[in-house]
């Protein structure tokens, strides 16, 4: 993945002012920075949900602007809002996802529900789920169709220890398949066990790493300061 001078303006405010970075297949990058530094906007642009105001990029050989339709099929996301339908049951939510993918899934609905620990709630409406259960349901989507580009925005929110371990398993599996993972997080300590690089944002720009192999925990602490 290569991004060159990615900038995004919302009205009169620039959320990103020219972010440039590379991410190699098989790598897990933590995207860190203070609130308002452009982390979520960067993830949404890379996912093709948002078009950048300026800049360009290539993901798995596809142009970020011209080939968004091709990139989209390789993307899996876990945002703070889980993107599930409250009036559908857990099983129906996953069944809907399966049908939208044209039936091309690596794991069945039941297998995905079992792995995220929601088998007992398969027939329950998602509106009655706790925040952690809702996000587990979103994780089940990632298990059903493992993405090549995995984008996680504050993935540790609402999860218990088992949920966090599940997130890490999915991250490791994606990297092992030569996929790319970007994790936007403030929790440097938790993410340190899976990340192998840090993309630090400040005021909408990527701050260059001072030296290769920097400890992400230290970088995050510096960013917070």
């Amino acid at each position: 993945m290569v991004a060159e001078g990615i900038a995004k303006r919302f009205g009169r405010r620039w959320a990103l002012r020219g972010a440039s970075f590379r991410a190699e297949p098989g790598s897990v990058q933590a995207v860190m920075g203070p609130n308002g530094s452009g982390k979520t906007t960067l993830l949404r642009i890379v996912s093709t949900s948002l078009r950048p105001t300026r800049g360009s990029g290539f993901i798995f050989g596809h142009d970020l602007l011209r080939d968004a339709d091709l990139i989209r099929g390789d993307v899996g996301v876990l945002y703070h809002a889980a993107g599930v339908y409250g009036d559908l049951t857990a099983r129906e939510n996953l069944e809907f996802a399966r049908r939208m993918w044209g039936g091309a899934v690596a794991a069945s609905v039941d297998a995905a529900l079992e792995r995220v620990g929601l088998t007992h709630a398969a027939a329950d409406r998602a509106a009655g789920f706790s925040s952690g259960m809702t996000r587990r349901l979103a994780l089940a989507r990632l298990i059903m169709r493992p993405p090549r580009l995995l984008l996680l925005d504050e993935p540790y929110a609402s999860f218990d220890a088992a949920g966090i371990e599940l997130v890490h398993e999915i991250v490791r599996e994606t990297a092992a398949r030569d996929g790319i993972v970007l994790i936007s997080t403030h929790d440097a300590e938790r993410s340190a066990v899976v990340v192998d690089g840090v993309l630090r944002l400040k005021d909408g720009r990527v701050v260059p790493e001072e030296a290769p192999g920097l400890d992400p925990v230290r970088l995050a602490v510096e960013g917070a300061l």
């Binding site: 989209r72 099929g73 809002a81 993107g83 009036d87 049908r99 993918w101």
Partner: protein, 228 residues
């Protein structure tokens, strides 16, 4: 993307919207109640004269469908915004037009269901005999509803990103609906009046033309409109 997989996505979106609506029923009950109330209020406003009520019936029914149906379009996109589902929906592979067509089908089924209760109620309240023209009337109702729902689904997607979407949707939608409304009311009135001048055929052809043009334009423009 194959036509078969796109058709599968259209069916999936329609199934998802209708299943969610069937579960909650909140929207259907609200729309039906509002529509029935409007029919009664128009009746009170026009007075007890049967001839006046019959003359105005076509316009009243279509206006009632238009005002009450607009609520359905709001709900159609509200469910996508509640838990960030729209972002996930837009990341599925395939054309954006399948999302539009799926929502169009679901909204069409919804409004036709409301009309299935509303129109018989109107024929009783306004004492309008429809026996001889029932099937032709059904064709007019379907064509008029299709044009209305096509534009409503499209403009609701445009308004859904706005904070003032409840106000914005009627402002965008109603002016664009004038041709469909005029054609649907004229065709319905001609049929209810016995169609002595054989006018309904012209209006029906016009409705078909509007439906085709609006559907084509909405499919082309939807991708740009739904993206932030």
């Amino acid at each position: 993307m194959s036509v078969r997989s796109e058709a599968g996505r259209v069916a999936a979106v329609a199934w998802k919207d209708l299943t969610a609506e069937r579960r909650s029923k909140a929207n259907f009950n609200a729309v039906l109640f509002l529509a029935a109330l409007m029919l009664l209020m128009f009746g009170f406003a026009l007075g007890p004269d049967t001839a006046t009520l019959r003359t105005a019936a076509a316009g009243i029914v279509w206006l009632t469908v238009l005002f009450s149906g607009t609520l359905a379009f709001h709900r159609s996109y509200q469910v996508e915004l509640e838990r960030g589902a729209l972002e996930t929906l837009l990341l599925y592979p395939g054309g954006r037009s399948s999302i539009f067509l799926g929502k169009l089908l679901a909204n069409l089924a919804f409004v036709l269901l409301v009309e299935a209760v509303l129109i018989p109620l109107a024929t009783v309240l306004y004492d309008v005999p429809v026996g001889r023209v029932t099937w032709m009337l059904a064709v007019v109702v379907f064509l008029g509803t299709f044009g209305f729902v096509t534009l409503g689904t499209f403009y609701a997607s445009m308004a859904s990103r706005s904070r003032a979407r409840e106000v914005l949707l009627p402002l965008l939608l109603f002016p664009m609906l004038v041709p469909v409304l005029v054609a649907a009311v004229e065709a319905t009135a001609a049929l209810l009046g016995g169609d002595l001048m054989a006018e309904s055929g012209r209006w029906v052809r016009l409705l078909v033309a509007f439906d085709v043009i609006f559907l084509g334009a909405a499919i082309v423009a939807f991708g740009a409109v739904i993206e932030e």
